[in-house]
Symmetry: C2
Subunit: 348 residues, 2 copies
DNA sequence: GCGGCGATCCCAAACGTTTCGGAATAGGCG
DNA sequence: CGCCTATTCCGAAACGTTTGGGATCGCCGC
C-alpha cells in the first residue's frame, strides 16, 4: 500500500506537508503542490479510507438494514430501491452498505450494534410503520438517518410523497366520471402510506357527499398475483365495482389479467387507475389500454434522500428535513365515464 | 462512543488488559475477565471497527461492484444475488457492500481504487466473460476475490456449476425421447456459462450421431419477454421445433405463454425443459404442466462462495479454490416422447 | 538466600491520517 | 538594526485498537 510516508520520502517533504498539499490547503507552495501531486499519481497513491475515518470520525458509509426473509413477496420493490439508492449515494462520494440480516434477526439491535461499532455514518430507513422501532432506536442513539415515507407518531427527517393526495386524486377522478362502486386495492395497512391513501379515498368520497363501500377496500401485498386474485374476487361479487384503483402497477397488471380472465373489458366494463412508482422492472408502459393514475418516480426520491442524508451527517444537530415530492396525474385511457343520474351534476 | 479507555477507567485496569480480557487472551485472571465483560456490557461497549481495521489491516468488508445501468433487463437476476450473498456474508460476520457505479463508469478502475483505498478485504465477481478484465485487474492487484462462474482464460478461485452438463443432460433427455428438432433458448454467448451449455447441447447431439440445427439455437437476454418472443418466432417456423430447452425459468415462462398464444399444447405438441436456478422470485413451481429440467440452487452457491472467500482473505497466498456444485435433473411433466423411426433405437 | 517460574498485569509502539501550534526564512518598513 | 508579516514548512499529538516485550509479585526447590 502506498502511504503518505512513501510520498514524503519520494519528494523529500514531511508527511504533514504532503497531506496538506494533497488536501488543498493554502499554506503550500504552488510548485511544491504540483510536485507532490505528480508523485502521488506516479506512485498510485490512494488515501487510506480506514485511517482517515479513524481520525475524522466519519467513514463515508451509509447503511440500510433489511431483515432477511424467505418470503420473496416482501422483496418485490427492494431491488430497485437498493439499486437506485446505491447509485445515488455512490454519486455523492459516499458508500452504500446493504446489510441483510438473518431471517428472524432483531433489526433494531442490528442498527444499534452497527452504529455503536463506528464505521457507519448514517442510515436509510424504508417502509416505516406507525411508531416504528427503528426510528425510535436511531433517534435515541443520536444517529443520522433519513426515512423514505414517514411515521406520523414521531418527528424525524424524511422524503415522501403526499399519499393522501394519491388516494384522493384517483378516487376523485373516478367519482367525477360518475363511478360509484369504486374498489381500492391498497397496500398493507400496517404501513402509513397505505393508511394515508385510504384516507384520501375516503375524503374524495366525502367531498362528493358519498362514502366508500368497505367491501371494496382491500389491503394486499402489492404484487401481481395478489392483485389478480383480489380483482377476480371483486369481479365475482353480485354487485361488482365499475372501477378499480390499484396501489401500484404490479397490482394493476393483476387487475388487467383478472379482467381478461373474466371477459370484462377495460375500460368498457371496468375503469382502472393505478399509482405508478416509475419502477423500471414494473413499468406503467405496455398496458393496453394505456394505464393512467398518479405518478411519482422513486428515482427522484433517492436523489433527495441521498442529498438530505449527506447534509444530516455533515450537520452536528439533525435538521428536520421534511421533503414532500411532486405528484403528477395522467388520466390514461383505461377509464371511461359512466351514465349517472343527471340530477347529480358531476361537472361545471 | 464507549471505548476501551472508558472500560479501563471503570474497572481500574490498563487498556491493554481490558483488550486482552475481551479478546479472550490467556494471561488474564478469570475473575478480572468477568469484571471486564460485565463492565463492557453495562457500558454498551462495541469495539470500534475502524480502529481495529487500521491496526489489523482487515476491515471485514467484501464488495461487489456492478455497473449502474438504465437497462432493467440486465438486472433481472441481480436482486436475488445481492440478497443471497449479503445474507450469507453477514452470517459469516463480514459485511457486504454493493457498489453500484454510475452508468458508463469504468468498472475495472472502480475495483482498483476501492481496493487501493483500503477498507475492502475482498471482492465478489459475477457473470464473468472470457478474459474478463475485472479478474485480470484483481489478480494483478493481489486482491482476494472469488468468481461466481468462471473465466477459462485465466486461473482464479471460483464457484460454479457444470454448465456443459446442464446443456448435455437436457438435450440428451429430449433426444432419448425421440425429439430431433430441439430448440435452445440460451443466455448471452458473451458469458462463458452460455458457451458451455451450448457445447453440452452439441455434445449430446453428437453422442446420438446427430448435430444441432443452428437456426434453433438462440442467444437471448434471459427474461420472460425475450423468451416469449423468441419462442413465438420458433413456433412460426415452417418446420417448428418439437421441444424447447430454456436457459432459465423466466425464459420458460415466456415459452409457456408463447405456446398458449399459438395454440400449441405442452407437452402434446411441444416438450419443454429448463434450467432452474432456484430463485424465489422466479420459481419453477406454478408451471402447468409442471416444468422439468436441471436444477442448481443459487443459494447453495452463495454459501460456498462466502465461505471460500473468507478463507481466501484469511490466507496469505490465494488458494485456487475451484468448486463445482451439484446439479440435479427432474424430467417434470412438460416433456413427452414422440414417435421415432424404429430403425433408430433410442433406448435399451 | 537465590534463581527460576507461573500468573497477572502494564508500557509503549504501531497502523495512516489530520491538524494544532509553532518554526524558519525572507522581505518590507520604520 | 529591530520588529512585524507573509509564506512555507514541520513536529507531535490524536483517533481506538492490538501486541511484543517486559515488569511485578508470590512461591517453590535447592
Amino acid at each position: 500500500m502506498v502511504t503518505l510516508k512513501d510520498i514524503s520520502r519520494d519528494v523529500g517533504l514531511s508527511i504533514t506537508q504532503v497531506s496538506r498539499a494533497l488536501g488543498g490547503h493554502t499554506d503550500v507552495n504552488a510548485a511544491t503542490r504540483e510536485r507532490v501531486q505528480l508523485a502521488a499519481t506516479r506512485l498510485g497513491y490512494r488515501p487510506n479510507a480506514i485511517a482517515r475515518s479513524l481520525k475524522t470520525g466519519r467513514s463515508g458509509i451509509v447503511a440500510m438494514i433489511v431483515a432477511g426473509s424467505r418470503d420473496p413477496d416482501s422483496n418485490a420493490h427492494l431491488f430497485e430501491i437498493v439499486m437506485g439508492l446505491s447509485a445515488e449515494i455512490s454519486a455523492l462520494g459516499l458508500q452504500f452498505v446493504l446489510h441483510v440480516g438473518q431471517p428472524g434477526a432483531d433489526v433494531v439491535k442490528l442498527h444499534t450494534e452497527l452504529y455503536r461499532s463506528g464505521g457507519i455514518d448514517g442510515f436509510v430507513i424504508i417502509g416505516p410503520s406507525p411508531a416504528d422501532p427503528r426510528i425510535k432506536c436511531l433517534t435515541d442513539l443520536g444517529a443520522p438517518f433519513i426515512v423514505h415515507g414517514r411515521d406520523p407518531e414521531q418527528p424525524h427527517p424524511f422524503v415522501d410523497i403526499d399519499n393522501f393526495d394519491v388516494g384522493r386524486t384517483m378516487a376523485d377522478h373516478l367519482l367525477s366520471l360518475g363511478h360509484r362502486r369504486i374498489a381500492f386495492l391498497n397496500g398493507p395497512l400496517s404501513e402509513f402510506f397505505a393508511i394515508q391513501r385510504q384516507r384520501g379515498v375516503d375524503a374524495a368520497f366525502a367531498a362528493h357527499g358519498l362514502s366508500v363501500d368497505p367491501a371494496l377496500m382491500r389491503s394486499i401485498t402489492m404484487i401481481e398475483p395478489q392483485g389478480r386474485s383480489a380483482a377476480r374476487d371483486l369481479l365475482q361479487l353480485d354487485n361488482p365495482p365499475t372501477a378499480i384503483i390499484a396501489g401500484n402497477t404490479m397490482i394493476a397488471r393483476g387487475v388487467y389479467h383478472a379482467a381478461a380472465d373474466a371477459g370484462v373489458s377495460i375500460p368498457g366494463d371496468l375503469s382502472v387507475l393505478a399509482h405508478d412508482d416509475g419502477l423500471e422492472l414494473f413499468p406503467a408502459a405496455g398496458f393496453e389500454p394505456p394505464l393512467g393514475g398518479t405518478s411519482a418516480h422513486l428515482s427522484a426520491a433517492w436523489i433527495s434522500l441521498s442529498a438530505d442524508l449527506k447534509q444530516i451527517i455533515a450537520a452536528s444537530k439533525t435538521p428536520m428535513h421534511n421533503r414532500i415530492l411532486d405528484l403528477t396525474f395522467d388520466k390514461g385511457s383505461a377509464t371511461q365515464s359512466i351514465l349517472v343520474d343527471r340530477s347529480m351534476p358531476v361537472g361545471p
